[in-house]
Symmetry: C2
Subunit: 296 residues, 2 copies
């Protein structure tokens, strides 16, 4: 972990702490982003750092001076830990100050970076598919949903609903009843007429992986494997009739949904488009030099 | 500070920390409450602890075992610090676990209690009144607004708007455009026809002080000083025409608003009902044995 509080690195878990009066702790006043290092290379690092900057700007959070060296910091951390397969979590916080809500009580923002060993999901999630249910938790308002802030209680409760429903994942609906997003996953649907649809990012967090899958899917359109790819509203009723459904995310890549609200999706097993998208994404994650930053 | 992590107390600010993987830190997955100790007695302690329990239950947060001894813990902390005028902050968190959103990754919830020296607001806030503006930040959805969780980013941005507008306070509107709540303040209005109105608590946090002022105002109704006291929607237009406006809260008690969105409220100075309510509340805070828990 790196903490700007001490301007230093530590590998001792007991020192991986944050002051209780950092407004991140008592108000959730901070933003974060998470990226993945695969075989010593970080995938879409610039895209994640750009989103982090957008999130910070949306809440008028100034960058701490350390932010200028964020790339070297991450590199140094990963080299110190020596983990070629890891998750990098960067948090920008308002910093310690008072216990009030007033951000101007904090003399300077802070940065905390954690390197976490990458634990892959169980292999059967990818081979057999996963189950999904609709969550009843109200989604965040658009303004907040589009910021990757540390106000993730709705997301926590979405995950809780999944676990309590004995499903692996849950998806929340937006205010008009359309599919919005999972706890930390974006969703996509291959509709009955062969169109790959993603909910628009006006009301949900703009997923880095989702965006990339959207771009990659263009190849499948050209090859005639799918009819089209677009951002469009998806109702649960349409999703029940879908040929395939997918979850995407930084740590899970792309997952096939085989059951939604207890109804089988398609044949109830991962479909051919999942197989194609999964291949395309993995190739991109491991071979696309433009999107890979070499660390180790 | 008391931390259930170490089952101990510390007065060293450097040790007032929380593990970075406590889900409170990275997800805001926790609830809190704040109470005030006046002259060695805590005002409405039971009401605050009950609200803390309600908040925890709303997000299915189990109490850590330390919660059973919370009253003794608070007493011990205050006696250790020796501060007769202080603020007590109790936080219940999901606890350390993974860096995920999954609350079931956390083996046990945690409790953190901070004692903070009470700093009164500037005296002129009470004698001259304060300025208020309407915030443009969307208020939290009702489900979340009624829980005192650590997802306070909307509240932070409300405060930021106040500061940026050169006002002392800001109030957010609910989805129907009625006055909702301030950053950490409840609002009340004495309408042109002499009725004291509080926004209902279905969409905002149920204010302990607001509730008590509501009860105390009954005396003013009986004395004919005000016509009635009720929970009812208040539009900004009605507020602009108000005779008096008030903010209430645990640390601020009751404050007179003398300007709202640049328009003078009443005579532009604290009114007679403010003066009455302020006296009633202070008497209650210092003399009502039923609501005071003696510590020192």
């Amino acid at each position: 972990m790196y903490s700007s509080q001490w301007q230093g690195f530590t590998t001792d878990p007991n020192l991986m702490v944050i002051p209780i009066d950092d407004h991140l702790v008592h108000r959730g006043d901070g933003v974060f982003d998470v990226m993945r290092c695969i075989n010593g290379k970080i995938y879409q690092m610039e895209q994640h750092l750009q989103r982090l900057e957008r999130s910070a700007k949306a809440i008028s959070l100034d960058f701490p001076p350390e932010h200028e060296n964020i790339r070297e910091l991450i590199r140094h951390l990963i080299l110190t830990v020596g983990e070629k397969q890891c998750i990098i979590r960067v948090v920008l916080s308002r910093g310690p100050g008072s216990f009030s809500t007033n951000p101007f009580d904090c003399p300077s923002s802070q940065m905390y970076v954690n390197i976490i060993r990458f634990n892959s999901l169980p292999e059967e999630y990818y081979t057999n598919g996963v189950t999904l249910v609709t969550a009843h938790i109200p989604i965040k308002k658009s303004f907040f949903a589009t910021i990757k802030s540390c106000n993730y209680l709705p997301n926590v409760l979405i995950k809780m609903e999944a676990v309590k429903s004995n499903a692996q994942y849950a998806v929340a609906l937006d205010e008009d009843g359309f599919l919005a997003e999972g706890s930390i996953e974006n969703i996509a649907v291959l509709t009955a007429d062969g169109v790959l649809r993603f909910p628009g990012f006006e009301r949900t967090l703009s997923g880095i992986t989702a965006n990339r899958v959207f771009q990659l899917a263009d190849k499948l359109v050209k090859e005639g494997i799918i009819k089209d790819v677009m951002f469009a509203n998806i109702s649960p009723a349409e999703a029940y009739e879908a040929k395939e459904m997918f979850l995407t995310g930084t740590s899970l890549n792309i997952l096939p949904v085989v059951s939604y609200d207890g109804k089988p999706i398609g044949q109830g097993s991962p479909g051919p488009v999942y197989s194609e998208l999964s291949k395309l994404l993995w190739e991109d994650m491991t071979r696309n030099r433009d999107l890979l930053t070499e660390i180790v």
